[in-house]
């Protein structure tokens, strides 16, 4: 140990002992070193001494810390706190904001609706099958109210499950011919809870650009990677799937745990057209991606028995991993449901947030939904009637001056858009609003603009007027509405 030290030491001092033969370095001993020390000139020693002291000082001085020099005193902190001015909780809304004053409906919001005191024919509520003021549905709801009261006072787990819920779930499963169904107490929360129940951080979801807002919220809550494909463009979807396949080949370990989903709507609420389900299924098995299908607009509308897009295309429903729909449109109650195989659906009973953590659906609303299902099962002709009406409205509205009709001819909720944009979204909206106000409610036809949160939508749909077809509308009603719209359009869009 000591020898080692003495070996290194001379090197340190060696620059003033050049006269000593380096070849004999190995034979150096302490005595020689001390000798060299004595031989060295005084200024060298002083210099060495200063250097050593400098090193010691460096070794023992405190480390230079960046944050210490920036540490704030209490006084400075207080000043910062004093200085900070937050933005107001909400930005001010101008008094004439178009979505601030709602139209007021007095009385039932059914076929004949009173808007701002004027009676109109309803071309705006999603009451496709006219079940909203159906006497049988009302009576069943009433009977349930007399038995259970209104609220459930608890989530499903904690005495919030009623026999009516179980009945509705099994009825929905039977109706859709799936193994199991699960009900939610709010339509919006259904798909928004279902998506994050399966898709987690790191998973990948392929979504149509026209997907509705509740799907968008579900995607956001899932924190997965979202890949949007062009609306109904299967080539674009396949391109993304291929890209992903290449990616998976590069990292097969990651690919083994990355779930992949395609989320589409049956009938798109934003565009009123239908998803190409058979092609989607081919892609599903080719690329091993699961399909979630949102059917709020097509459940109780499409297909011979109203089972939705799967029936419309004659697709085996078991090929769809999950179908979700609300019971607020065709069924005219409140709430939503998901259905599919038990393997899939049962998972939501523990991980569907809107299911676990929310009070369950009031039994009377579930009872109303059961009765609506009864009516739909007893008389499947209503779906044919609805399709006829849709076709009628669709053809009648063709050739409206300055407006184009968007959607497929069997869609019950169509959009009327401007043929030529006036330049800005605001002025387009203003034009369409003038048309709506021309017709509704003064001329006795209830219409509404399709409303969106412009800053929140991922792909903002074009401004449009919603035209909703229900089976209660007679030929005269349709005639009246169409002529009103045409008159308004030619008056406003001269």
């Amino acid at each position: 140990m000591f020898m080692l030290l003495t070996h290194s030491q001379p090197c340190f001092f060696s620059f003033y002992t050049n006269n000593i033969n380096m070849a004999s370095g190995q034979q150096w001993v302490l005595v020689e070193m001390v000798q060299a020390f004595y031989e060295a000139p005084a200024y060298h020693l002083i210099l060495e001494g200063i250097l050593i002291l400098w090193i010691i000082r460096l070794l023992f001085s405190k480390t230079y810390k960046l944050h210490e020099t920036y540490r704030l005193t209490e006084k400075e902190k207080e000043d910062l706190i004093e200085e900070w001015q937050p933005e107001p909780l909400v930005p001010p809304v101008s008094k004439d904001h178009p979505s601030l004053s709602y139209d007021v409906v007095t009385g039932p919001p059914s076929h004949n609706i009173i808007i701002n005191g004027k009676e109109c024919i309803n071309f705006a509520s999603f009451n496709f099958l006219g079940l909203l003021d159906n006497e049988r549905v009302k009576q069943k709801a009433l009977a349930s109210l007399k038995k259970y009261g209104v609220g459930t006072c608890g989530p499903r787990g904690f005495y919030g499950t009623f026999d009516v819920h179980l009945e509705l779930e099994s009825r929905l499963a039977n109706f859709m011919k799936t193994e199991e169904a699960i009900i939610y107490s709010y339509g919006f929360a259904t798909i928004a809870s279902a998506i994050p129940a399966y898709s987690k951080r790191g998973d990948i979801i392929f979504v149509d650009e026209a997907a509705c807002f509740s799907i968008q919220k579900g995607l956001q809550a899932s924190r997965s990677f979202i890949k949007y494909f062009k609306h109904n463009d299967m080539e674009d979807l396949e391109r993304l799937l291929k890209e992903q396949e290449l990616e998976d080949h590069k990292n097969p370990r990651k690919a083994r745990v990355t779930r992949k989903f395609i989320v589409v709507e049956g009938l798109y609420i934003n565009t009123a057209d239908i998803c190409p389900l058979p092609e989607l299924l081919k892609l599903k098995y080719k690329y091993k991606v699961r399909i979630f299908l949102e059917e709020s607009m097509s459940f109780g509308v499409l297909g011979e028995h109203g089972r939705g897009v799967t029936e419309h295309f004659g697709v085996n429903i078991d090929d769809i991993d999950l179908i979700s729909a609300n019971m607020e449109n065709a069924v005219a109650s409140i709430g939503g449901f998901c259905c599919g195989r038990s393997f899939v659906i049962d998972h939501q009973r523990l991980s569907g947030q809107g299911y676990c953590f929310s009070a369950s659906l009031p039994p009377m609303l579930a009872a109303a939904a059961i009765e609506a299902l009864n009516i739909m099962e007893e008389d499947p002709d209503i779906f044919t009637v609805l399709r006829e009406k849709c076709k009628h409205v669709y053809t009648a509205l063709q050739g409206t001056p300055g407006l184009k009709l968007v959607g497929v001819q069997f869609a019950p909720a169509l959009h009327l858009q401007l043929e030529r944009s006036s330049g800005s979204r605001d002025s387009d909206m203003q034009l369409l609003r003038t048309i709506v106000e021309y017709v509704s409610p003064t001329r006795g036809v209830a219409l509404t603009l399709a409303r969106y949160l412009e800053k929140e939508e991922r792909f903002l749909p074009s401004p449009s007027i919603r035209v909703v077809v229900t089976i209660e509308q007679t030929d005269q009603d349709i005639q009246k509405a169409v002529s009103c719209i045409q008159e308004a359009a030619s008056a406003v869009l001269k």
């Binding site: 309803n122 709010y186 399966y198 607020e328 676990c356 929310s358 929140e456």
Partner: protein
């Protein structure tokens, strides 16, 4: 909440070893008195008795044993020695990436499944003070249930959030709901902004604002969605949300959807909140150090798992001092607290205008469904034009709305009776009585003296099932809560007191709890009983607390 087990990769494999490490995080026994410079107008008595060490060790051991048996049975299932009841993936999709991870389900399969019969019991009556339950049976150890067709009549209901007893199928509320059903139907089939805004919606909103003593209010069809769909409208990127660690899932979801930065403070701990507030303002946003746009403090009135009441006077003082905004979720406290049933603000005698966003639900005290947000006119006007719910979600069902209007008028005394007022008083009285008696029996009871949510500690997972079954055998329905809604060793039973409970009902329930408590050895409390609490049940008890 007991039945959501999202991520628990290696369930308590570390069991007993962990117990030694985690001992330091047990609740410290604390009884807070009001000592904050006169902020409190009433004594603030809240207690969380320490978990006895021996109980903690046994609880970890029981998880350890359950885990070992879980692995053993998974092994047996894997080799098909034990029949496997788990739903299977479709044959054609066997080579897809698994829809959910197996480890997510270890807990469900091996622990939750053993006591699954304690939850999801179907009712076939009003969820009132007594209820009828469908009798269920299982032949495969809780994997599937079938209903025998028999009904268990008049089970005492200690589980529903029916605080003021408005869950009823007769009386003025049910009558008005029935009338609305016949007049309007049950649905609306449109959104508030499009064509689903009924005149009754606006009337109800005016009433809610009046009830709460604020300028304006807006209502929504689902309580959960009221939080998750409106917080994103109030807060966004560059904003900070300070959230209590025990906040409900809907608040957490709303905060996440908003895209704001979220920081969590310790449950009801004002030092922790103040520290976060100071740091946030002094340091600004992470990396850029720009000042935060705004800071939103999110708290609940009554925390439904702990039975604790938010320290609102202190929160308001902090919020004013640091210019933060306050979002108060009164899901459990509205109607259930305060001499006039106006919630936690009323309980502490504060000014509702000091709370920026008053949120609450109609599911509990009002026996209906849905939620509200109330506050300044500007806030509500902004929500009317920017709330997700107003634009995209179907409006509230008319009969549900009538139930809310009628029950709220009743609490306000606008129906010309004192019935509402009496219910509020009855609930407070029942709460004090029930909590006092349980404590006297030697159970560990969590939470605030005034909270009608009464958690009683069971600790061991097997005791959740045992307690619920033994109680139901004696015709009393209770709710058990375990991991992950609670910390792993703090499983508990949760009683919800209602104004509809009569003294007889409560006494029956208490004597049964006493009996089952002895049977299952649940009387963990080592606290000396205070003589002052051993007074008989009389009106003084109520008046002392409520003045």
């Amino acid at each position: 909440f007991n039945i959501s087990f999202p991520h628990w990769p290696c369930p308590c494999a570390k069991g007993i070893a962990m117990s030694l490490i985690l001992v330091s995080r047990f609740h410290v026994s604390q009884v807070h008195a009001a000592s904050h410079g006169g902020l409190y107008s009433r004594p603030f008595i809240e207690s969380f008795e320490e978990t006895p060490m021996l109980v903690a060790v046994f609880t970890y051991m029981s998880y350890g044993i359950l885990t070992i048996f879980g692995y053993l049975r998974d092994f047996l299932r894997h080799w098909k020695i034990e029949r496997c009841n788990i739903a299977r993936e479709k044959e054609e999709q066997k080579d897809f990436v698994p829809l959910y991870q197996d480890f997510e389900n270890f807990y469900n399969r091996n622990i939750y499944m053993r006591i699954r019969d304690s939850w999801n019991r179907p009712l076939c009556s009003v969820p009132g003070a007594k209820m009828d339950l469908l009798e269920q049976a299982t032949h495969d150890y809780n994997w599937t249930f079938h209903y025998t067709g028999r009904v268990m009549h008049d089970v005492i209901n200690l589980g529903s959030y029916n605080y003021l007893g408005f869950a009823d199928n007769t009386g003025p509320c049910a009558d008005s709901a029935a009338e609305a059903t016949m007049k309007y139907g049950v649905g609306v089939a449109s959104t508030r902004q499009e064509i689903g805004n009924l005149d009754r919606h606006e009337e109800m909103e005016k009433l809610v604002a009046k009830f709460l003593g604020v300028e304006s209010a807006m209502t929504f069809g689902m309580g959960f969605a009221t939080n998750s769909m409106n917080i994103p409208a109030l807060s966004g990127k560059g904003c900070l949300i300070l959230s209590d660690e025990l906040n409900h899932a809907s608040l957490v979801l709303g905060a996440r959807l908003s895209g704001s930065t979220i920081r969590v403070f310790k449950h009801n701990n004002m030092q922790s909140l103040e520290k976060l507030l100071r740091e946030a303002i002094v340091h600004g946003q992470p990396r850029t150090h720009r000042p935060w746009k705004k800071i939103l403090i999110v708290v609940e009135g009554i925390y439904s798992m702990e039975g604790s009441v938010v320290r609102l006077p202190e929160v308001i003082a902090l919020k004013k001092r640091y210019r933060a905004y306050l979002y108060l979720d009164e899901a459990h406290s509205i109607g259930a607290l305060g001499p006039r049933g106006r919630g936690v603000v009323d309980y502490f005698g504060l000014d509702p205008c000091d709370v920026d966003v008053m949120m609450g639900t109609f599911t509990k005290s009002f026996g209906a469904a849905g939620g509200y947000i109330a506050g300044k006119r500007e806030l509500i006007e902004y929500l009317r034009s920017h709330s997700h719910s107003a634009v995209y979600a179907t409006s509230m069902s008319p009969p549900v709305m009538e139930q809310i209007i009628t029950s709220m008028k009743c609490i306000m005394g606008e129906d010309g009776t004192t019935m509402g007022c009496e219910r509020v008083r009855q609930l407070a009285k029942n709460t004090v009585y029930f909590r006092k008696r349980l404590r006297e029996m030697g159970f560990i009871i969590y939470g605030n003296e005034g909270s009608p949510v009464v958690p009683m500690m069971l600790y061991m997972p097997a005791k959740i099932g045992a307690f619920a079954r033994e109680m139901l055998k004696r015709n009393i329905g209770v709710v058990g809560v375990g991991f992950p809604a609670t910390p792993i060793i703090e499983s508990r039973a949760r009683f919800c007191i209602s104004a509809a409970h009569t003294k007889d009902v409560l006494d029956t329930a208490l004597s049964v709890i006493n009996e089952v408590g002895d049977l299952l050895q649940l009387k963990y409390s080592r606290r000396k009983r205070q003589p002052s609490l051993a007074r008989p049940f009389d009106d003084n008890v109520y008046e002392d607390i409520d003045d």
